[in-house]
């Protein structure tokens, strides 16, 4: 297959950046989107040009490192799929594909398609943890957890922190991420002591970092590679309201 790629190129944080077009040939339909970018980069290196920088790690859709806007969609056109798991067979031969980095003020572009997602770490540090007494490991069945709590908690815990929700949100809100992290802890017995403080602190940090507010547009859940439901935001709001004096 053959494609024309329009890619955002930006040397460093201070560079203004621009879209640059590259033809790429000899792409197999079985290749992933990132493997297709590898083919382009090999060609760029051969020509003595700077390869396109992009984040990637496991390439199995479980680490959350990769992520880019592909034709205006976070992680591309395939639902519940990360960019590394997106096959080129979902594109038509000869297509022009636009590739841009996540865009949000708290996510500064470091280089090309690589953005600084440390804002997510700030949100986690402000409440996305449980405090447990140190010592020997507790008995596996010491704390009973109902199946429904475990299921709902796990539905949120599958968040890989890729940032697609922020990238897709018309408000630039990170509410789906924040809510997923607060919910997966808040639904388990270990997360109860800090439940309401956690919700309040994580939302406060989220707002201070400059993310936008949620208006229930639902773009986040549509692009989420783990299909995290909007209901986690309802649960976060409930904890938030409950914790208010």
């Amino acid at each position: 297959m053959r494609f024309t790629l329009r890619i955002w190129r930006q040397r460093d944080r201070d560079d203004t950046g621009a879209m640059v077009s590259y033809p790429v040939d000899h792409v197999s339909p079985d290749m992933s989107f990132l493997e297709m970018l590898d083919v382009l980069n090999e060609e760029l290196v051969r020509r003595g040009e700077e390869p396109v920088a992009f984040d990637h790690d496991c390439r199995e859709g479980i680490c959350g490192a990769c992520g880019m806007m592909i034709n205006g969609m976070a992680h591309g056109p395939q639902r519940a799929t990360t960019a590394c798991q997106l096959s080129m067979r979902h594109f038509a031969d000869g297509d022009t594909i636009t590739v841009e980095p996540w865009r949000a003020r708290p996510f500064g572009v470091i280089k090309d398609l690589v953005v600084d997602r440390s804002a997510f770490d700030r949100i986690i540090a402000s409440g996305g943890y449980v405090s447990v007494p140190a010592g020997s490991a507790p008995d596996a069945h010491a704390l009973p957890v109902s199946t429904s709590s475990a299921e709902a908690s796990f539905e949120a815990a599958v968040c890989i922190g890729c940032g697609a929700c922020v990238a897709a949100c018309p408000n630039g809100s990170a509410m789906l991420f924040t809510a997923a992290k607060a919910t997966h802890l808040g639904l388990l017995p270990q997360g109860q002591p800090e439940r309401y403080v956690r919700a309040a602190e994580m939302v406060r940090t989220h707002d201070e970092l400059g993310f936008g507010g949620c208006t229930s547009m639902g773009e986040c859940t549509a692009v989420c590679p783990k299909s995290i439901p909007l209901d986690v935001i309802s649960r976060l709001n409930r904890d938030l309201l409950h914790g208010q004096p």
Binding site: E100, P170, G212, M217
Partner: protein, 208 residues
């Protein structure tokens, strides 16, 4: 946003139901108006209830708009660089038109108060003659058209607002999503149809 929206929705539904009295006749509608103004008169005095309602509604509108402006400004600050290529937002017509739809509704409310309550923009404009005020106003095609545009903006606003408000108030919808969606659409369509019926009836000569 959710709480003020809920208060405004209760008012809008009541207003729509009261409007339907126009199909009963002039006496019924004007009588309802007189009853409303005299509500709780022994305790609050004439117009006392109406003025309390006006103050509460105005406060809700002000807070509702303030919250909307804050959210919009935060959204603009959160994404200073736009995407070159952006797929249209999935959230549907209702979700996309919350902001501009809200502006249309706000402008209409200002006009509507000057027309029907204050009476300065009404060709009849006599207090207590609600029926004649309405037929005189909607007798002009542009007044009826503006009303219908605003009502058509209100429908999707209610549809998205109801679902969003539930989420803001912390109600996980889960498997009941289809039911909630159906109820929200039902309320939106009922309110829209109810409000549309009056200007349409005047325009077609059903009510004169």
């Amino acid at each position: 946003m959710a709480v003020t929206g809920a208060v405004l929705l209760v008012f809008v539904v009541t207003h729509m139901l009261a409007n339907l009295k126009i199909f009963v006749g002039a006496t019924a509608l004007d009588g309802y108006g007189r009853w409303l103004h005299s509500l709780a008169e022994p305790a609050l005095g004439h117009d006392g209830f109406v003025w309390i309602a006006r103050v509460v509604l105005l406060l809700c509108v002000a807070l509702h708009i303030t919250a909307a402006v804050q959210l919009t400004r935060r959204a603009h600050r959160a994404r200073p660089f736009r995407y070159r290529h952006r797929r249209p937002v999935l959230g549907g017509y209702a979700a996309r038109t919350m902001r501009w739809g809200g502006v249309v509704i706000a402008l209409f409310v200002v006009y509507h108060v000057l027309d029907m309550t204050v009476g300065v923009l009404n060709p009849n404009g006599i207090a207590g003659q609600d029926y004649r005020d309405i037929t005189a106003s909607f007798g002009r095609w542009y007044a009826a058209a503006f009303t219908m545009i605003a009502v058509l903006a209100l429908g999707p606003h209610i549809r998205h607002g109801l679902c969003g408000a539930l989420r803001s108030l912390g109600v996980p919808i889960g498997r009941g999503r289809r039911v909630v969606d159906a109820v929200a659409i039902g309320v939106a369509v009922t309110v829209t149809a109810g409000f549309l019926s009056v200007p349409l009836a005047v325009l077609t000569g059903m009510v004169r």
